[in-house]
Symmetry: C2
Subunit: 152 residues, 2 copies
């Protein structure tokens, strides 16, 4: 008899479950570099422009924050799961500016699980992913379905 896979499968996720992990130190260099490549708006590149914007100071591109979150989710959860990829996000909200010196972490809350009707080997795990900063503020909220393999 083969031992069951230690990886988290669809059947291992349950509504209400919460996973807490991650430590992401945000640097000015990274904010400016990402913005220069993907989101070259002045408030992501320059302190004074940031101060004059709704952000109230230099802050990371929202898509950069999503990417930082993804890195923490890969390292802290996906490596432990029989993950089959993602399909996108149902909702994504940049709640607070992410600034140089911020330290981010993740809370993933399972909201609902649903077996795929078209593929018997996978299921959808709907999660709320909250990225907190060191001031205990939610900087990013992403509601997103994750595809997880089902146990044979």
């Amino acid at each position: 008899m083969t031992a069951p896979s230690p990886l988290l499968h669809f059947e291992d996720f349950h509504p209400g479950q919460t996973f807490v992990f991650g430590h992401y130190a945000v640097s000015r260099e990274e904010i400016v570099e990402f913005a220069g490549e993907f989101d070259p708006q002045p408030h992501h590149l320059d302190d004074d422009a940031g101060k004059r914007s709704l952000l109230g100071g230099l802050a990371a591109s929202g898509w950069h924050v999503c990417a930082m979150a993804m890195r923490m989710v890969v390292d802290g959860l996906i490596v432990k799961a029989a993950n089959r990829g993602g399909v996108g996000a149902d909702e994504c909200r940049w709640m607070k500016p992410v600034r140089p010196g911020d330290i981010l972490r993740v809370e993933v809350e399972v909201l609902e699980t649903r077996a795929s009707t078209s593929r018997s080997d996978i299921g959808f795990v709907h999660v709320a992913c909250r990225i907190f900063n060191q001031r205990e503020q939610v900087a990013l909220l992403a509601m997103t379905p994750i595809l997880a393999r089902r146990r044979a």
Copy 2:
């Protein structure tokens, strides 16, 4: 009398309006570099792992595709608009894998405009942002509100 700003303001957006722009050439190096930093899952890093995955071959991280889209939107639309930033995305779907050699472009369709009830100087322009590849497939769909300044 001062001439009105040539920038697109809230009042210049109307449901049904479509903006078409952008040309983004996707390279293998960029896919692997972004994935190495933000989404180090094997199917974004390695051809063989990509082939074994649901993606059917090496493909860019979905968040990378969002970032590529943002770059095109900044260069093709935001530079022409009295933009006040974004708040996130209402929905985001990675419809087709984005692969090395793909050429992407954008279509932004205005769905609805709504003045802010809390701030008289801004309004929300709700758009559907579709990223097409050179095979005329929609690779990314993002439904997102944009904050635009109102004319004085």
